[in-house]
Every structure is written in C-alpha cells, then in structure tokens.
C-alpha cells in the first residue's frame, strides 16, 4: 500500500542530498574538530561551511549561530540562559499556545521567583497585543513568542511583537522551529535577540538544532564543560549532523518560493476539497496569516484518534489535537486557548505538507477522507438527525 505523509510539522523526511552530504563524516572524516592533527583539521572547515549555510537561511552572521542537539535544547538554552544572566528581577512573558519546549522552561522560571505572564490568543489564534503591551509595562522582561504555531500554522506578527519587546528594553526570543524553511526569515529586519530552529523540521535528521544569538545578547551557557561553539555550548561537535543541517538549510533557502507557492496551493486544494465533501467541518486558526503547509481542520461529533487510525488503514499519516492522541487526557492546549469548542477540539486533524507532497497524494486524501468521516459519524451518538 502506498503511504502519504502529511505530518511534516511533527517531523520531515531527510532529504537525499542531506544524507549524501553527511555520509563522508561517518565513514572517513570522523575526527574531533578540537584535535590538532589532520583528523581534526579536516572537519573544521565543513563545520564553518555549515554555519555559513544556516546563517544565510536566516540572514544572520555565522558567529551568531550556535549548534545544539535539538529545538527543545535551543529553547531551554535561550530562556533559562537569559534568565540566569539577567536575574530574577526580569519577568518572563510567553503565550498560551507555545510548544511545551517553551512553556516548560517558562513555567519552571515562574515557579522560581520570576513573575510569569502568559498571553492569550483570540478565536483565530492571533496574539492579544493589548495584553502583551500590559505585560511589558510590568517591568523588564524576557519574552518568548513563537513565530508560527505548530498545530494551527498561525503566524504571529513577530516584527511588531519584537519591536514592542525591544522598545520596552526586554529580551526577545522566538521559537521559529515551524517557520524556518517555510517562510523567508531575515533577522536583520526583525529585532529578535534569539531564535530557535530544529533540523528535523526542515529535512535534516533529528538530533540537531540551532540557537541564533544576536551579538551582544547576555546569555549564560546552558551546557558547561568545554570550549566548543565559542564557549557558548560545551560538548564535542556533532559533525555529520551539523554538515547535514547546513546542506538542509541551503536546500530550504532554494525552495522557499516553492514552499510559499506550490505547497500552499496543494494545502488550499486539500482544504477546499475537504470542506466541500465533509459537512460540519471547520478550519481552526487564522487562514490568512498561516504557514503555507499547514491545515488544521475539525470534524464535529467524532474523535481524532479514531479518524487517524482509519486514515492510517488507507495509508494516510497526519496528527490530531484530540485528548486520546496527546499522551495525556487533555486535548490540545492550543485549540482550547483559542476557545475552540470541545466538540471540535476532539475531532481536530492536522495535515502538514512538505515540498515532497504531490497533487496525486492530495487528491487521494480528498477522496479517501469523506467515507471515513461518515463511517465514524454513523457510530457517534451526537450526530443530529
């Protein structure tokens, strides 16, 4: 059976070019870059090149790129590192719809003497800018606001938010894990101090991430015990993965137009197809300011996990915000924060495409989903007769 992968916001396929770029660093050039001999020397240049490739993707200076082990490490290093450098006098501001990798450290600091503000969102998932303004007036703050939401794809007005934070003399971090590679990002134009990105969301493997740190940002290193990454992140460099991420960043920069046009058109085709054939369905989140690859749609009266299982039987992979799929009993905190009714939260399905998604796959999905939805509704006690 053919399989159709529409869960790219969870993780993405490693690009063949990336695998090719990485292989020599497993097979032959396995040296430690800190070594003085030839083995060390031959892997220093490739790391520098990867750093340049990643910097180019977000228009940063290579010296501002720190390689980490994943997006979650980048978020932790940024938020906890800034808090440690600046002290408990600084408040922490974040949003109610962040990824747990940001909410976790922010709430941790909230329990340890920092005043914590969690900014809400409206029904479209857009940030409450008035509430953000009020929180910023409460004193100096470390703010962490995501660029784009992983569940709904909603894009925050990050330029405006960063400008507000900087005007209040605060520190601005953004979790851009979902945005990098899908949207053009230019840190010369947007005054964020720190930005997290993750390799496996942009067709590099899992186990590699980046924290961009603008020159002059005060940050206490998270990992101690080594001089690597200019004393900002200890630990022997993960050479093959760094090289792989560099290549993936280069490919992402080349394909950004494709992401914005072709992928967006396929997503719109999927959206229109499903809305037309599945009654009592609704799109969650701002449909204008949205990642080009993401569609979050709720099918009323039925439950997400059941939908996913049946989709999986016909070879379609996606994810859901339903409680049964979250690993806990709580349904999606993002959709709940938006005030999406419980009925719709439990029946939510997220489709996330990539530049490898084809029109044939989208049409297959459009054809196979409606029977699943009506089959489950036939079992449900809530469908209005």
């Amino acid at each position: 059976m053919k399989t159709i992968y529409l869960d790219n916001n969870a993780t993405s396929a490693v690009a063949p070019e990336v695998i090719e770029a990485m292989m020599p660093f497993f097979r032959d050039q396995w040296g430690n870059p800190s070594s003085m001999h030839v083995f060390g020397g031959q892997v220093k240049k490739p790391i520098d090149k990867a750093r340049e490739q990643v910097a180019a993707l977000i228009h940063a200076d290579p010296s501002e790129i720190i390689f980490t082990s994943c997006g979650t490490e980048s978020d932790n290093a940024a938020i906890r590192g800034a808090a440690e450098a600046l002290g408990p006098r600084y408040n922490v501001i974040t949003t109610r719809v962040e990824h747990p990798a940001v909410l976790g450290p922010c709430r941790y600091l909230g329990e340890r003497g920092h005043r914590l503000h969690e900014i809400g969102v409206d029904a479209a998932g857009q940030l409450d800018m008035v509430q953000l303004g009020e929180a910023l007036r409460d004193g100096p703050a470390i703010s962490s606001v995501m660029w784009a939401n992983n569940e709904t794809g909603v894009i925050f007005p990050i330029a405006e938010i960063a400008a507000m934070v900087k005007a209040a003399d605060g520190v601005m971090h953004t979790d851009a894990v979902q945005a990098v590679g899908k949207l053009p990002i230019d840190v010369r134009k947007i005054p964020v101090d720190m930005l997290s990105l993750s390799g496996h969301k942009l067709h590099a493997p899992k186990g590699i991430g980046v924290l961009y740190v603008r020159k002059g940002t005060r940050l206490q290193p998270f990992m101690l015990g080594g001089h690597q990454e200019d004393n900002r992140r200890a630990g022997t460099e993960n050479v093959p993965y760094i090289v792989g991420l560099g290549r993936a960043a280069e490919l992402a920069l080349e394909s950004i137009t494709k992401e914005m046009t072709t992928v967006a058109a396929l997503r719109d085709r999927l959206e229109a197809g499903l809305l037309a054939t599945c009654p009592d369905s609704r799109v969650n989140g701002d449909r204008v300011n949205r990642l080009p690859n993401t569609l979050n749609i709720s099918f009323e009266y039925i439950e997400g996990e059941s939908i996913l299982y049946m989709m999986s039987d016909v070879g379609i992979a996606a994810s859901s915000g339903s409680a049964c799929t979250s690993g806990s009993l709580e349904p999606s905190h993002v959709l709940r924060a938006m005030g999406v009714p419980f009925t719709a939260v439990h029946g939510s399905v997220r489709f996330s495409l990539s530049r490898y998604t084809t029109q044939e796959e989208i049409d297959y999905t459009c054809n196979h989903l409606p029977p699943i939805i009506s089959r489950l509704r036939a079992i449900s006690p809530f469908v209005k007769k």
Binding site: I302, E303, E305, A323, C324, S328, L329, S380, P381, F382
Partner: protein
C-alpha cells in the same frame, strides 16, 4: 482492532427496555448503550453508539457481543476487566474505555429496573471536576481492579488527568481502599486460625504495615520512619524528617507505631527508637 474496524451492533433500538448514556463531548468520549429483552428474559438485542477513540469503539462493540444472550442479572456482573480480556487486553492508558463500557451497561440496567428515562445523576461527591468522576466511581474501580497508584486511577477513570488538583483526594481514596484491603486480609487470616509467624513472615508483615499504615500518617506531618532491626519481639526503628527530634516523638512511637504494629502483626511487639 477488529472490533474497532468492524464494530458490531452499532445503532439504535426502537422501544428499548434499557438505555444507558455516559460521558460527554467535553470528556472526549461518550457511549450510548441500549438493549431489548426477549420473551425468555434474556438480552435479545443490544446496540450502541460511541464517540471516542479506537479503544472506546472496540470496548463498546465487545461489550455488546458479550452480553447478548445474558440475563440482566448476568450482565450486571460484567466488569471492565471482562471487557478488556474479551479484547485480548487494553493498554493501561486506555483502561478507562472499558470502564466507560461497564458504566453505560450499569446505567442501562438501572434504567431498565427503575423505568426512569432521565440520565443517571452522578451519585456522591465529585472528586475530579475536569472529568466529573465521583468518589463512589473511583472507589469501585480501585476495588475491582486492585489499583494502588494515582496514575493507575487516571488511566482507568480519567480522574486526575486534567488539571491534577484532585490528585491528593485520589490518594486519600486509595489509602482508604488500602486499609480496607489490609483489614480484609487480616480477617481472612484470622479465619484460617492464628498461626505463629516465621521470622521472615514477621519482618515482611512489619515492613508492609509500616509502608501502608504508618508511613502515610507520619508523612502527613513531614516525617518518616525507617525499620532498622527486629530482635525477637523488639522492633527497632529510627524516626526521620520532622519526626526526628520532635517533642512528641515518644508519643508517636508508642501510640502510633506500636499500636499499629500490634494491631496488624502481633500483639506482643514492642517498639524502640534507635538514635544514631
């Protein structure tokens, strides 16, 4: 998985003899179960509708297959474990689906017996407000499944899986059930004629009693206890935490530790404190 992909007995029955509804959209799963009796007093037809995950659908389907042909009395004895077993086991986090099946069946039987058509009003104190789970329900599930941790209770009933505020209350229910179980064990033990404990049995029983009966009491006040040694009938313990150096430690030793050990292990024990 077959009961999920090809659920049996989906739908509604005209003029059913019993209808049971549990759960709600907010909870994330819900089940409506109805049955009709045949002339022989056995369940002739049973149908269900489910909103929920794969396990919820499979549990509902399995339940309907199980109770077909049973009398109402027999059906009343079906437990959530029976449902899980029928399906060849359910993952721990999905046990609440089988509990929901049993609840709906109970509700349908109540409805048949009382003739009342309104939804069963939740009996007893609501412990978990997020999912509307009562003390009665938790106590029953703890008893039937021999649960001992809050996490298990969450897996079986969902209670405590939302905001988590009710976890201390669940802990109290577990403590109560634990005490009941111990009491029952003791009674069962008493019936089979008191027999002299071997040294190993005695030490194990002392440890068990400290763990279940004594430590929870001390922990409530920030204290703790450690069993150091047992010499004949002399039990040597050390008090820890807030209990160590506490003014009323002697009182605690005699009136709590010794009383409990005499009650649950052997009436000729004495307790001594070891100071290091």
């Amino acid at each position: 998985m077959d009961h999920f992909r090809n659920p049996r007995n989906v739908g509604v029955i005209e003029n059913p003899d019993g209808v049971g509804e549990v759960g709600s959209l907010a909870c994330g799963d819900a089940l409506r179960l109805m049955f009709k009796l045949g002339p022989d007093g056995r369940i002739a037809d049973v149908k269900f509708q489910t909103f929920g995950c794969a396990s919820a659908i499979a549990s509902s389907s399995a339940l309907t297959e199980m109770i077909k042909g049973m009398t109402v009395e027999e059906a009343g004895k079906v437990t959530n474990q029976d449902i899980a077993e029928f399906l060849g086991g359910l993952p721990e986090q999905k046990m609440h689906c089988s509990v929901m099946g049993r609840e709906a069946l109970d509700a349908a039987i109540d409805n048949y017996r009382s003739g009342k058509t309104e939804k069963k009003i939740l009996a007893g104190k609501v412990v978990c407000n997020c999912f509307g789970v009562t003390e009665e329900e938790i106590t029953r599930v703890v008893r039937e499944n021999g649960l001992s941790t809050v996490e298990q209770v969450t897996n079986y009933t969902k209670a405590g899986g939302g905001c988590g505020k009710c976890k201390p209350d669940i802990e109290k229910i577990l403590e109560k059930a634990r005490a009941e179980r111990l009491e029952a064990e003791r009674k069962a033990g008493a019936k089979t004629a008191p027999r002299k404990l071997t040294v190993i049995e005695k030490i194990r029983l002392i440890e068990q009693t400290i763990e279940r009966e004594i430590r929870p009491l001390l922990k409530r006040d920030g204290g703790d206890i450690e069993l150091i040694d047992v010499e004949g009938n002399r039990v040597k313990v050390a008090l820890r935490g807030m209990c160590a150096g506490c003014q009323v430690a002697q009182f605690t030793l005699k009136d709590v530790v010794e009383v409990k050990l005499r009650e649950f292990v052997s009436s000729d024990l004495t307790v001594e404190e070891v100071r290091e």
